[in-house]
């Protein structure tokens, strides 16, 4: 287990195509399944309505952070805040970053979502990970324990 999420995916499409799919608000809405009110602008709030079947009641809201053409697109949000009874605005948002790299066959897309730990500096956890045993091993212990006792 980690305090952040990392994904890598190879896309057989040029970087310019992927960049458009990520940052054009209509195209983003197509694959992400959200109907956005308007274009993404760094520093501004992006709002819309989720169109994912079963989640149409959910409002989408994110704050666009960086748009470095064909390299980096990032926003902060409250991930999958699907419960209308919870006021997510009180929670610290997570940071979602899409990084693009040109490859021989198209584009390498790297996604990270971080900030789940809400610790001002993630370094403490990072430092622990480098110690012997580390976070992963501790989680293994915990998992073993959970399986044994459940």
């Amino acid at each position: 287990m980690n305090d952040h999420i990392e994904k890598r995916i190879e896309l057989k499409a040029p970087v310019s195509r992927v960049w458009r799919a990520l940052t054009d608000y209509r195209e983003f809405g197509e694959w992400f399944r959200v109907k956005l009110d308007g274009p993404f602008v760094p520093g501004q709030v992006s709002r819309g309505q989720v169109t994912y079947p079963g989640y149409e009641h959910v409002q989408w809201e994110a704050v666009v952070q960086k748009m470095e053409p064909e390299r980096l697109f990032s926003f902060t949000w409250h991930p999958y805040s699907v419960d209308p009874k919870i006021d997510y605005s009180k929670e610290t948002p997570t940071l979602v970053e899409f990084r693009l790299e040109k490859t021989t066959s198209g584009t390498l897309l790297m996604l990270t979502e971080s900030g789940f730990d809400k610790i001002p500096s993630g370094r403490r956890l990072e430092a622990f990970r480098m110690n012997d045993g580390g976070w992963t091993a501790q989680m293994k212990n915990i998992e073993n324990y959970v399986t044994q006792t459940s």
């Binding site: 287990m1 896309l11 694959w31 730990d117 610790i119 956890l125 915990i142």
Partner: protein, 107 residues
């Protein structure tokens, strides 16, 4: 799914400390431990151990149980399981979204 969601950030914060993680590692292997047992063989003072246990207790990772005159601490996997399930859920949603993006740009 998002049940008990508010409790997650403090759990991450409580675990974001080497000393507390090492206490959790000790406690999840066997149970329960007294403060003296947890202090023995470590560089920490009794007071330091107590302070860290209280932080873990405040987010429900450990519970104290009284046995006679002594408090013992036992591990409760539930809060950690909760954040793990939450991260797994968010991670799975990304897998789905990225596979939709893949079809979208490759078509």
């Amino acid at each position: 799914m998002p049940a008990k969601r508010q409790a997650r950030a403090p759990v991450f914060a409580a675990l974001g400390d080497e000393t507390r993680l090492s206490l959790v590692a000790k406690l999840c292997g066997r149970r329960p431990y007294s403060i003296s047992q947890l202090t023995r063989g470590s560089k920490l003072t009794r007071q330091a151990v107590t302070k860290h246990l209280r932080v873990l207790e405040s987010v429900g990772i450990v519970h104290s149980v009284r046995t006679g005159r002594e408090s013992r601490f036992e591990f409760d996997p539930q809060p950690i399981e909760g954040i793990k399930q939450y991260l797994d859920f968010v991670s799975e949603q990304w897998d789905r979204a990225l596979s939709r993006l893949k079809s979208f740009v490759e078509d």
